[in-house]
């Protein structure tokens, strides 16, 4: 299993830059360029070339390529280990890599087929004019009263005791908030949101404060500005409103 979960954005980026669809693609093209038999890869040489190409293509940061490089180095080391005589049970350390390369190569073959088929289809237009006939009516429903009643029963069973929330109405106090805002602005020419609404204000107080500001702005008693999105709203005393 490759462990390439993180860095996904990285790999997309790499694909775009290097023109390779991953380490297997790079490795395959390397074998092709060097005319190397996939079943008998001279790992030491290929490993070196792979690292070289990685460096060349500035792929050193890409996890997938690093992982492949590490794999090649490990195989290279395993190849150097002395083999027991008779070599019974000796596993070619390259077997897994060969399998993956073959698998990838076959997938590339299918891609070629898909590319041709897709290209042919792309070159054929379907009808794009939509007949202006009325929108097709929805399919009739296959339903019976039993279905409905069974559903009712299911609902009743599922909700033995419907919880009923008691909602305590909390009237907004816009007038009170307006008084507060006026009081603040009487002392200073400009204020901020936190000056008119406490940090620990309850929702109804926040709403009251907001409505009060909007109302006063409507009455031209103050001016609301926001230098940029999500910045603190600036509340300024409107001179015209003051005069009025």
């Amino acid at each position: 299993m490759t462990a390439v979960e993180p860095q996904s954005t990285d790999s997309i980026f790499v694909v775009d830059i290097a023109g390779f669809n991953g380490p297997l693609d790079l490795l395959l093209s390397l074998l092709r360029d060097e005319q190397i038999d996939i079943y008998d890869i001279p790992v030491a040489r290929v490993c070196e070339q792979f690292l070289g190409r990685m460096h060349e293509l500035k792929l050193n940061e890409a996890a997938e390529y690093l992982e492949m490089a590490a794999r090649l180095i490990r195989i290279k080391a395993q190849m150097l280990l002395p083999r027991k005589d008779g070599s019974e049970g000796w596993e070619d350390p390259r077997a897994e890599l060969v399998r993956r390369l073959l698998e990838y190569q076959q997938m590339r073959e299918v891609v070629d087929v898909l590319e041709k088929l897709g290209e042919d289809r792309r070159n054929r237009f379907g009808r794009s004019f939509m007949q202006q006939a009325a929108a097709p009516p929805p399919a009739p429903l296959a339903l019976s009263l039993t279905d409905l009643l069974v559903a009712v029963d299911r609902v009743l069973r599922a909700s033995r005791k419907p919880t009923i929330h008691e909602v305590i109405p909390r009237a907004l106090d816009v007038d009170g908030a307006m008084t507060t805002v006026r009081a603040v602005l009487a002392l200073r020419a400009s204020a901020r949101w936190r000056d008119v609404v406490r940090a620990d204000a309850e929702p109804w107080e926040v709403l009251s404060g907001l409505l009060a500001l909007l109302e006063l702005a409507k009455r031209s008693e103050l001016h609301l500005t926001q230098p940029r999105p999500f910045a603190d709203v600036e509340i300024r005393r409107e001179l015209a409103g003051e005069a009025a």
Binding site: F125, G126, R127, S128, F129, M130, Q131, A133, A134, P136, P137, P138, A139, P140, L141, A142, L143, S144, L145, T146, D147, L148, L149, V150, A151, V152, D153, R154, V155, L156, A158, S159, P162, T163, V167
Partner: protein, 218 residues
């Protein structure tokens, strides 16, 4: 057909809008206006004489291939004949709650069902089984939903009172019949009579149609 006529056919077929004559001419820079006109004539004649179901028409400043009107009905009918759809268990439950609790708001339905019902309400509304019947008092004045006459029709009910009362429900289900409906079930109704509801105790499993409630031809 000559090759220009074929090119025009392809373009007219692929275009989502009618194409004016001068735009058609631009398809082949070497074609003279006269050649384009005669290719259009050839195409039109071909469709007419050869007995095609489509015709070339000059509509609103452009040319378009349109199907002939005599086929419209069959096409629309076929679209209606698309196999009947079933409601999901979620939709049925929502419908059941609305039927018994109307007028009712989304939040209330959601609370009874324990899940959000926005998408389900939308689906039921699109199918015309429920409709907005008013707005509640209070914050945000939420929409209130109720069932429609299409709902009654769908379930073969004359009016909502024909729905069994909740306290009769278990019995109604067990007996496989609905009392209120005893008078004279209309023949088109999916009748509950003769239903051999095996246990009478509904399960959580989404219900399948009982044998006699197979989709009726619409």
């Amino acid at each position: 057909m000559n090759s220009l006529a074929k090119l025009l056919e392809a373009a007219l077929f692929a275009s989502p809008r009618p194409i004016p004559t001068d735009e058609l001419a631009a398809l082949d820079p070497e074609a003279s206006p006269a050649a384009v006109q005669s290719a259009l004539d050839e195409l039109r004649e071909h469709y007419d004489v050869d007995g095609h179901a489509v015709a070339l028409r000059d509509v609103g400043g452009g040319w378009q291939i349109l199907t002939r009107p005599e086929y419209t009905e069959a096409i629309e009918r076929a679209q209606m004949a698309v196999r009947p759809a079933r409601l999901s268990a979620a939709a049925l439950e929502t419908l059941a709650i609305i039927a018994y609790r109307q007028p009712i708001g989304r939040a209330e339905v959601a609370e009874i069902r324990g899940v959000d019902v926005g998408a389900v309400l939308k689906g039921l509304h699109e199918r015309g089984l429920i409709d907005v019947v008013g707005r509640a008092e209070g914050l945000g004045r939420p929409l209130l939903y109720g069932t429609t006459s299409a709902f009654l029709e769908q379930f073969g009910l004359r009016h909502l009172e024909e729905l069994p009362r909740v306290d009769e429900l278990a019995i109604a289900l067990r007996k496989g019949g609905v009392e209120a409906q005893s008078s004279e079930p209309a023949t088109t109704e999916p009748s509950l009579e003769g239903t051999d509801a095996p246990t009478g105790v509904p399960t959580d499993v989404p219900t399948e149609a009982t044998p006699d409630t197979e989709p009726q031809p619409a």
